[in-house]
Amino acid sequence: MYRTHGPALVRKAERVLRSRDDASDVVHAVFADLLPRWDASIDLPYLYRAVTNRCLNLLRDRTTRARLLERDHASACPVGRVALADEVVGVGLIAQLVDRLDEAHQGVLIGRFIDDLTQDELADTLGVSRKTIGKRLDHIRDEVIALRGEGGSR
């Protein structure tokens, strides 16, 4: 599992964190934690969620967040094919949103704008209705607009 899917998980973490080293650490930590209690319920979707959560935890940590943003400042030009309110989501925007969104919305944020999942895929992955996904996306857009408003008013 680690050899087969580890690289995909590292790339996923790297898309969030914009750092290969941190991404490798995240994936290694996820597997190291799971290894002693590994069972059949741990599948690839589970691992994707675990990596997402660990990345977001890193971004919640102010020290790590500052380091990631400073070291990878050039990558503020983000990677992605799905834009959020005319903005492609990168580590800078995720770092700002992670404090404003609850876990459910963070999952949608990463799934939609980092993994580029469709709304139907998101609904299947998260086990909620497509309508719920739509509402969560609306809320995320509202938060981004609010962020821009706060930035513009400074």
Binding site: Y2, A8, V10, R11, R15, L35, V79, D115
Partner: protein, 220 residues
């Protein structure tokens, strides 16, 4: 991984998600994705980035799994186990005492004017085993006299101990006369032993009492 797709490179339709592209990179068996990649430069670039990427995984050291926990360790009521065990143990230990009446605790009360009630009992030391309110004796036992009286009754309470062997009438005064301050379980200084094979009566003359407080001891 090289930057796969600048954001100005738009997908021609709905982008193929990264997890699907990753799966396709491992097992290229999805015709829909194959067709899409032929026409969409954005997704093609992402797929090529995956295909060209080489990830060096950190070594993952397999650690021995912890022993499987038994059901009661996982259970939320596991804390009840030691509590219940202690309760059962206490019940087993205390049951004989609860089921049978306690042995007579030889304690004599004597009323003394100006002092109030004074309780007198003998404490026996038999090879280290201490028995309060003893009523029997063997050779080698040692006895102490213990008094309990209201602490503020008087500063010092004179006391004299007299031991009489009932069969012979022989009287002994094994402890020197003394005075004690009242309190709870005050030990009269000194200890004594009994000899012979007949009953003994130990009497304490306390203060101004006209009758002594006595305890009888039978040979065992």
């Amino acid at each position: 991984m090289t930057a796969p797709a600048p954001h100005d490179l738009a997908c021609t339709a709905a982008p193929i998600s990264w997890p699907r592209l990753e799966h396709y990179a491992l097992a290229p068996d999805d015709r829909e994705i194959a067709t899409h990649l032929e026409t969409c430069a954005a997704c093609r670039r992402c797929y090529d980035a995956i295909a060209a990427d080489r990830v060096e995984l950190r070594p993952l050291v397999a650690v021995a799994p912890a022993p499987a926990e038994s059901w009661w360790r996982r259970s939320r009521v596991r804390w009840l186990v030691p509590v219940l065990a202690s309760a059962v143990l206490a019940l087993v230990l205390l049951w004989p005492r609860m089921a049978t009446p306690p042995a007579p605790h030889a304690m004599t009360l004597v009323a003394i004017k100006g002092v109030g009630e004074v309780a007198v009992e003998l404490v026996r030391d038999r090879d280290g085993a201490i028995a309060h309110g003893a009523t029997g004796f063997r050779a080698g036992d040692r006895f102490e006299l213990v008094l309990t009286c209201p602490p503020a009754a008087t500063a010092q309470l004179p006391i004299a101990v007299e031991v009489r062997e009932l069969a012979s009438g022989r009287v002994d005064r094994p402890l020197p006369a003394t005075a004690i301050a009242c309190g709870n379980g005050v030990v009269v200084p000194g200890a004594f032993a009994l000899t012979g094979a007949s009953r003994h009566r130990v009497c304490a003359w306390i203060g101004d009492a006209t009758t002594p407080a006595c305890v009888e001891l039978a040979p065992e």
